[in-house]
């Protein structure tokens, strides 16, 4: 068993979430934005696992399985949308897809 205090583990998950957030805000390529969302999902699941281990309950792992299912659906839909955007605009720049703005 780990003897690391749970704050350090939460801090690790927080660092990963923060990196994903930075990637989402900074990058304009849609593939990279989707990857950053994946990183954030994964760190959220990591928090669930840490909490489940901390309280010795299986609920955290159950929640991670649900996150996995949601992530799989999200990735499939988002990649299909990216393919459509690429066919329409011939670019993956998120700033180019602003026809809904005005």
């Amino acid at each position: 068993m780990l003897t690391i205090p749970v704050e350090i583990q939460i801090l690790f998950a927080g660092i990963l979430f923060f990196l994903g957030l930075i990637g989402l805000l900074v990058r304009r390529n849609m593939i990279f934005m989707l990857m950053s969302i994946e990183i954030m999902f994964n760190s959220a699941g990591l928090v669930f696992i840490i909490a489940g281990t901390h309280w010795q309950q299986p609920d955290g792992q159950v929640m991670f399985i649900f996150i996995l299912a949601v992530t799989a659906v999200e990735v499939a839909i988002a990649l299909a949308l990216i393919l459509q955007v690429y066919h329409h605009f011939k670019t993956l720049d998120a700033d180019a897809v602003n026809n809904l703005k005005d």
Binding site: M1, L2, T3, I4, Q9, F12, I15, L16, L19, G20, I22, G23, V26, R27, N29, I31, F32, L34, M35, S36, E38, I39, N42, L46, I49, I50, G52, T53, Q56, Q57, P58, D59, G60, Q61, V62, F64, I65, F66, L68, A69, V70, T71, A72, V73, V75, A76, I77, L79, A80, L81, I82, L83, Q84, Y86, H87, L92
Partner: protein
């Protein structure tokens, strides 16, 4: 035991930074896969071996392959001269070092760790399964509906609309 956690955490953070700061999409995806593997080592150390296996199989195995497939289909990962740079050591030396650190870490951790069946405090996959299909049965069915909607939505969005063109109506 703790040092293995720290090593895996450092590898995960470094490879995540490389993933979000890379210019080439394929290289960033490889770094992201490495990050997922490091996080699965962390899951194993957190006494969740079932989740560690799921992370490798579904995240690194299925979802990331989907990413790489789309990236290669869109042909954005590589430029014209990229093929010359493929074999440069700069491209693969850092992922290789990080991956070998992770492998050594995992081997040493497996040597030091108690077998998971002896450890009474570890949460067994059996408990997870019982909880999943008793307490959370409704959520499992909702997840099934969500997956169904995902399949239909991805099929609808992914299908190319066939352009119906008559030869007289075609605008030159």
């Amino acid at each position: 035991m703790d040092i293995f956690f720290y090593i895996a955490a450092v590898v995960a953070v470094i490879s995540t930074i490389m993933a979000i700061s890379g210019r080439n999409a394929i290289h960033s995806l490889l770094y992201l896969i490495l990050s997922l593997l490091a996080i699965s080592v962390v899951f194993y150390l957190l006494s969740a071996p079932f989740i560690a296996a799921l992370e490798v199989i579904i995240y690194a195995g299925a979802i990331m392959v989907l990413f790489i497939f789309v990236t290669m289909m869109l042909n954005i990962g590589l430029e014209r001269e990229a093929e010359k740079k493929w074999m440069k050591p700069k491209m693969w030396i850092i992922p290789s070092i990080l991956a070998s650190i992770l492998l050594i870490n995992l081997i040493l951790a497996l040597k030091h760790v108690q077998p998971i069946t002896i450890n009474k405090e570890a949460i067994q996959p059996k408990q997870v399964g019982i909880s999943l299909f008793s307490t959370y049965l409704l959520a499992v069915e909702i997840a099934a509906i969500l997956l169904m909607a995902g399949v239909i939505g991805a099929y609808h969005l992914g299908s190319q609309k066939k352009k119906v063109k008559h030869r007289f109506l075609e605008i030159k």
